[in-house]
């Protein structure tokens, strides 16, 4: 695609460079189809044979171009070599581009650009070739413009299509007019050339030449505008991928215009070959830009790996959303819970959004991704990201589920431990109470009987001493049993048990709670919490009174121990080992303990336990 569109010299320059116009699509259709079908289908289908197919395609193109350029190798080896290299690089780029879904058209356009670049120089041969080279010399530019405008869109817009048709028509028709109004010598060629002169008129030919080439200049400017518009409009991944291509394209058009201007202003003899050489070298920016674009797309897919790492590390839907937005370069991307149907519908409805359900096989979807439709063009990248997200999300959900189940198991076993401990305490208390205590009481009664029956005052006194000793033992036994588990809690409930505790405290305790019994584990837990809290009030609070309130709602129970003391008790002082035990017990019932002790406002210990 030498010099793209503006590179056409006008007037005398045109004649001086006659060899540059002579071309004709010599490429046999058969050869092309072979390269196409075999080379690319193999490339796509079998990784192992792709290098072979690529080598064959490149060899065929190289041979073809070398032959087409023919005598140019003697006239300017450097230019011939650069053209050949340019053609090969474009074919190679086209072959890579072919792998991308929906990009076979721009891939073909690129390859044709390379091949027709060489065909441009067929005027090195004599005979009819110089005339053909002039007429079809702009075809490589048309193909180049086609590739630049199309990639990576699925189709050309109407404006772009009209532009390309008009460009092709203008170039071929305009140049045909120039050829038929001129003769070979005017164009700097030899009279032995075959030349289809209809009406030789040098001044008319000159005017036509300026008009045609001036028009081509306008097409060049239009192309720059169209390309710039593409860049401005591109979003997200599109912008990343096409930026190098558009920049290289615009640069090539401008560079070609500079060469064209030099040629137009200089005389036949002075326009040097190296100007074309320099321009051809500059044109390499285009295949390089396409290669960069292809590599960019591959790199973007590689970024999906990073997405996996990020999503797996965080696991929540928000983190995955932002990871997806970064990876897919789409700040509008939404990741929604499929159950959030209204938001899904609302987001999907907004014009032409890309909707993708994350799901494993036939399972219910675990999330919905709603993204910029631009991403539909990057199916490979998008699908990879979706697959990765599905796995990451499912993994996170499974982990969360496992953690929840484990926690549930721990809770159940904690509750079981607390309940078992409570049952054990109650059993022990009852054993002491009904077994040992009854025994001791019986002996006391017998000692009393003995005391009344005996007539010996010494024996009576001894029996009395023994009985008093036993009574002391009984009192101790009762304290021990109470410490293990207060019987009053079992028999009369929390209120009575707290009442008993309150009776032994050196400050007034008001107890307010609903009538009726609570569950044994709940009563025991609340009892121990209250005992601990009341003990702390006595030790630390310097309070005048305490209020113990139990409130029961449908789904929770709350106990509050509030004193009117100094407050400001540091959590460390209240929350000693005793409270840690209590927090454990409360936790086993899925409840929580909170302590509030603002200075001067007393201390409140609150326990909330879910129930029902």
């Amino acid at each position: 695609m030498h010099g793209t569109i503006l590179s056409l010299p006008a007037g005398k320059g045109l004649r001086g460079r006659a060899e540059r116009w002579r071309t004709r699509a010599l490429l046999s259709k058969g050869l092309w189809s072979w390269a196409w079908r075999h080379g690319h289908q193999r490339l796509l289908g079998h990784e192992h044979s792709s290098w072979l197919a690529t080598t064959i395609a490149l060899t065929v193109v190289a041979c073809f171009c070398a032959i087409v350029e023919g005598p140019l190798w003697r006239q300017s080896t450097a230019l011939a070599a650069v053209n050949l290299a340019f053609a090969l690089v474009l074919v190679l780029t086209g072959l890579m581009l072919r792998r991308e879904p929906g990009q076979s058209v721009p891939a073909m356009a690129l390859m044709l650009t390379g091949i027709f670049r060489c065909v441009d120089f067929i005027d090195a041969w004599n005979g009819p070739w110089p005339a053909y080279a002039i007429v079809f010399g702009g075809v490589d530019r048309v193909f180049g413009a086609w590739a630049l405008l199309r990639y990576p869109n699925p189709a050309l817009s109407a404006v772009q299509r009209r532009f390309l048709v008009a460009l092709a028509a203008w170039m071929i028709a305009g140049r045909t007019l120039i050829v038929v109004t001129s003769t070979a010598p005017w164009m700097g060629g030899s009279p032995s050339w075959w030349w289809p002169t209809l009406d030789g008129d040098e001044s008319l030919s000159d005017v036509l030449s300026y008009v045609v080439h001036g028009g081509e200049g306008i097409f060049g400017v239009t192309l720059i505008v169209l390309l710039a518009m593409r860049l401005v409009r591109a979003r997200g991944v599109d912008r990343i991928v096409i930026t190098p291509i558009i920049v290289a394209g615009i640069a090539a058009v401008i560079a070609a215009s500079a060469t064209a201007a030099v040629m137009t202003l200089s005389s036949i003899a002075t326009t040097p070959n190296y100007a074309f050489l320099a321009e051809s070298v500059a044109d390499f920016a285009i295949p390089v830009a396409f290669l960069i674009a292809v590599v960019q797309r591959l790199l973007l897919i590689r970024n999906v790996t990073e997405l996996t790492a990020r999503a797996c590390a965080d696991g929540d839907i928000g983190a995955l959303r932002s990871a997806l937005r970064d990876t897919l370069h789409d700040p509008t991307l939404e990741l929604l819970d499929p159950s959030d149907a209204s938001r899904v519908a609302m987001n999907a409805r907004s014009a032409g959004r890309l909707v993708s359900y994350l799901q494993m096989g036939a399972e219910a979807p675990i999330a919905v991704v709603i993204a910029d439709p631009v991403l539909a063009r990057y199916r490979g990248l998008f699908d990879a990201a979706m697959r990765t997200s599905t796995l990451a999300l499912q993994n996170a959900q499974l982990q969360a589920k496992a953690a929840r189940e484990e926690l549930e198991l721990v809770k159940v076993s904690r509750t079981r431990i607390i309940e078992a401990e409570l049952a054990e305490r109650r059993r022990l208390e009852r054993d002491l109470h009904d077994g040992v205590q009854q025994h001791l009481l019986s002996i006391t009664a017998r000692l009393s009987a003995a005391m009344t029956t005996t007539t010996d005052p010494q024996a009576s006194a001894a029996f009395g001493d023994a009985r008093d000793g036993l009574k002391a033992v009984l009192a101790e036994l009762r304290n021990l049993a109470h410490g293990i588990h207060p019987a009053v809690l079992t028999h009369s409930g929390l209120a009575a048990a707290l009442e008993e505790v309150a009776a032994r405290l050196p400050l007034p305790v008001r107890i307010s709670m609903p009538a009726g019994r609570l569950g044994a584990a709940v009563e025991a837990t609340l009892y121990y919490v209250a005992c601990e809290a009341l003990a702390n009030v006595v030790k630390h609070a310097a309070a005048d009174g305490v209020l113990v309130t139990v409130r029961a709602a449908r789904s929770w129970l709350e106990m509050e121990v509030a004193d009117d003391g100094a407050g400001g008790v540091p959590a460390g002082v209240i929350g000693g080992r005793g409270l840690a035990n209590i927090a454990d017990r409360v936790g086993a019932l899925d409840g929580e303990v909170t302590i509030d002790s603002p200075p001067g406002q007393g201390t409140r210990v609150m326990v909330r336990i879910p129930c029902g």
Binding site: S448, T452, L474, S492, A495, L498, E499, A515
Partner: protein, 219 residues
């Protein structure tokens, strides 16, 4: 005095019978449950029955239920309920269902021969006895429940002795006061507690009940 015993612990039952016999009482029946006791005394009711509060089948308050049933069947038989729990709740429950000739004693004090006989005779005579340990604990409480707050110290002292089953004369002796002064205090307690019935014996029980309830938690 003829006494019947319902007590599920065989060892304590036999020891109690032994003690009662040694004190000159005649133990006519000694069975392990309330229902057996009711059946056993049907033909010849004793002067007093001694009931353990916790008996089969539920081991909670069978003694009180049996007391309730007995009072319907034999209104003249005194009832003494024994417990190992120094809870005012059970005492007040008992006094609610049986309002005269009734007593609530802790087993520890039962083994005290003098206290046992005194309680038995008071109950047999239609008096009301609440174990002094329970009464003391109620009084030891620092917080003064509203109803008890309206009694002065002397009246509270008199009420306490009333709860322990003493007559006005007994209280007078105990507190070194004249019978007339005690009577004044007693009627003052009745008035302050809103007990206006003319039946003074019934008023005594009500006053004691009010006293016991004052120890219960706020509801």
């Amino acid at each position: 005095m003829r006494v019947a015993i319902a007590e599920d612990s065989g060892l304590f039952r036999s020891s109690l019978a032994l003690l009662l016999n040694s004190l000159g009482a005649e133990v006519t029946v000694a069975v392990p449950s309330g229902t057996e006791l009711i059946a056993a005394i049907a033909a010849s009711p004793p002067d007093v029955v001694i009931l353990d509060i916790r008996m089969p089948p539920s081991f909670t308050d069978e003694g009180i239920r049996t007391a309730h049933a007995l009072r319907g069947l034999h209104p003249d038989v005194g009832i003494l309920v024994l417990s190992t729990y120094a809870e005012s709740k059970y005492a007040s429950l008992l006094l609610e269902v049986v309002n005269a000739g009734v007593g609530y004693l802790l087993k520890d004090n039962v083994t005290d021969a003098g206290a046992l006989m005194e309680s038995l005779s008071r109950v047999a005579a239609g008096g009301t006895v609440v174990d002094p340990a329970i009464v003391t604990r109620l009084l030891e409480r620092r917080q003064q429940p509203t109803m008890m707050g309206i009694l002065n110290d002397r009246e509270l002292e008199v009420l306490r002795h009333m709860a322990e089953g003493r007559s006005n004369l007994g209280i007078a002796r105990e507190l070194f006061l004249s019978a007339r002064t005690v009577e004044t205090h007693v009627s003052s307690v009745f008035t302050k507690l809103g007990l206006t019935q003319s039946d003074t014996e019934n008023n005594r029980v009500r006053a004691v009940l009010a006293f016991l309830r004052s120890g219960g938690p706020e509801r």
